[in-house]
Amino acid sequence: MKELLSIEGLSKSYKSIRAIHNLHLLISEGQSFGILGPNGSGKTTTLSIITGIIRQDSGSFKWFGEEPVSEHRKSIGSLIESPHFYPYLNLEKNLRIICDIKGISYKDIPRVLEMSRLIQRRKSRFSTLSLGMKQRLGLAAAMLGDPQVLVLDEPTNGLDPEGIAEVRELVNNQVGIGKTLILASHILSEVEKICSHVAILKKGELLANGPVRELLAEDEIIEVSCRDNQLLKRKLGSSGLVSEIEEENGVLVLTLKERVTAHEINAFAFSCNLVLHHMLSRKRSLESQFLELVKEES
């Protein structure tokens, strides 16, 4: 796959606050890439740098394998943090300005207004829109000219549940037709539903980076106990079936290796002459995994 965006050693501080530190990322064409992290982890800062709004302190990035120039941004649809338009101009005129900047025809305006269900309000001034409508206009502007790449920073911010579902569907459709998506979010389920790849940020540092299904895969976790837990623990530890064993109130909590089933554990224990008198499957939610990942070393 062709490389779309490569970020190398990017750092940015605001006075004493370190917003991002030595960030490396590689995003390929056609990927739907999530940037996941809690509030203040540097998602917006990263997207602001790659869209030219702020300058990095050090490090570099390349769009389409080239040194970044403003021309690149004309073929990228972005919505960074909250959308900002001329408050005294109506929606149509605001979008005309964007068309002029991107060098595309005004003919695309009705399509994106339709898509964001703002067509009835096209003559309203931007300042008269509700928060959710402004957000939708931001998305409409990002879609102008049907760009191959979308960079969206928390696009569902301020939307009602129906709006959130709509936006997710819209974004999913774009991904479906082969567009590249870079999506920043602090909501795990959003990234999980939309993205194929994810980078997890915390305090400006990259914690993990890879395909969603590997990184956020649901581990199989089971609780077991028998008459001699210590013996079982030792035996399991050298069995190669589990990746982690913890003791919790008299039971062993096992994290199973991939494709290992609870049945196999039971059979293994039996082969060691240990009869399990307690066995409970305990699926760890993604949310708690994410929280754990982010909590580590804090």
Binding site: I54, S70, R73, E81, Y86, L89, K93, I97, I98, I101
Partner: protein, 273 residues
């Protein structure tokens, strides 16, 4: 380039404070001229309406309307700081303008307003000249029209200083106050402090106002009274001499280039969040 100008037009012509300020500028401009025929009735012997004749009208009008350029500079400050407070510089950059484009678009607005001011002065001078002159020959009528070029330069320089203040300070009220403080306080005070030094003629605002200097009123009235006596040195000294004209123009061009370079550097560094 044409696209940039077009977006500026959409932004400006739909912005009420811009329309109102320009309307006020036009009103002030008109009143500022209408007041002269009114004063005229109070002064016997010499008639101010003599100043409205070709070819003096060009110089006279350029001189009396020069202060209105400050209003245009305030307009530039207003529209530039508004882009910061509305975060629309950010939007424009995100969608593909370079930081140099941002500078270019504001310079285009400034060029547009300068042309507007120049045309206004030019057409008004032409109209007054046609009304007040006895003798009309093309040669007399068109003499001194070069002042319009200097008027254009003065308006442009004024507004670029406004632009730099706006880019530096970002806040509308603070920028307006800073600009006015420079114009009506810092510049005159420096002028007074340096009154015994030649260097005072190099003060930036001074070089700009000297582009459209006070016309030689004495010479004009003497000409009117047909006194053939040559003007003696003593009367000549009443009018400030200052820098030679070419040097003055050169200094303004130099200052304006520096200011534009300053704007460029400021925009390259700005954070548009």
């Amino acid at each position: 380039m044409r696209k940039l100008l077009h977006t500026e037009q959409i932004k400006l012509f739909n912005y009420n404070p811009f329309r109102i300020t320009i309307a006020l500028y036009l009103v002030a401009f008109t009143l500022g001229i209408l007041i002269y025929p009114a004063i005229d009735k109070e002064i016997p012997v010499i008639s101010l309406s003599d100043l409205f004749r070709f070819p003096d009208v060009w110089l006279f009008l350029a001189w009396i309307t020069e202060p209105y350029n400050a209003v245009l500079a305030l307009v530039v400050i207003m529209i530039t700081t508004k882009e910061f407070s509305d975060h629309t510089f950010k939007t424009q950059v995100v969608f593909g303008l370079s930081r140099t484009d941002l500078l270019l678009q504001k310079l285009l607005s400034i060029a547009f307003l300068s042309l507007f001011a120049m045309l206004l002065v030019g057409l008004t001078s032409l109209a007054l000249g046609l009304i007040y002159s006895y003798k009309l020959t093309l040669k007399i009528a068109l003499e001194n029209t070069w002042i319009l070029g200097k008027y254009l330069l003065a308006a442009f320089s004024y507004m670029t200083i406004g632009l730099m203040v706006a880019l530096l300070i970002k806040n509308t009220a603070l920028s307006l106050i800073t600009f006015l403080a420079l114009r009506v306080f810092v510049d005159p005070v420096l002028w007074l402090l340096l009154r015994n030094h030649e260097i005072r003629w190099y003060l930036p605002f001074r070089t700009i106002t000297r582009l459209t200097p006070v016309p030689d009123l004495i010479e004009i009235f003497q000409r009117k009274m047909n006194s053939a006596e040559p003007i003696d040195e003593a009367t000549m000294d009443i009018l400030p001499k200052g820098l030679p004209e070419w040097l003055n123009v050169l200094m303004v061009i130099l200052y304006t280039s520096l200011v534009i370079y300053g704007c460029y550097r400021l925009l390259q560094r700005r954070r548009f969040t």
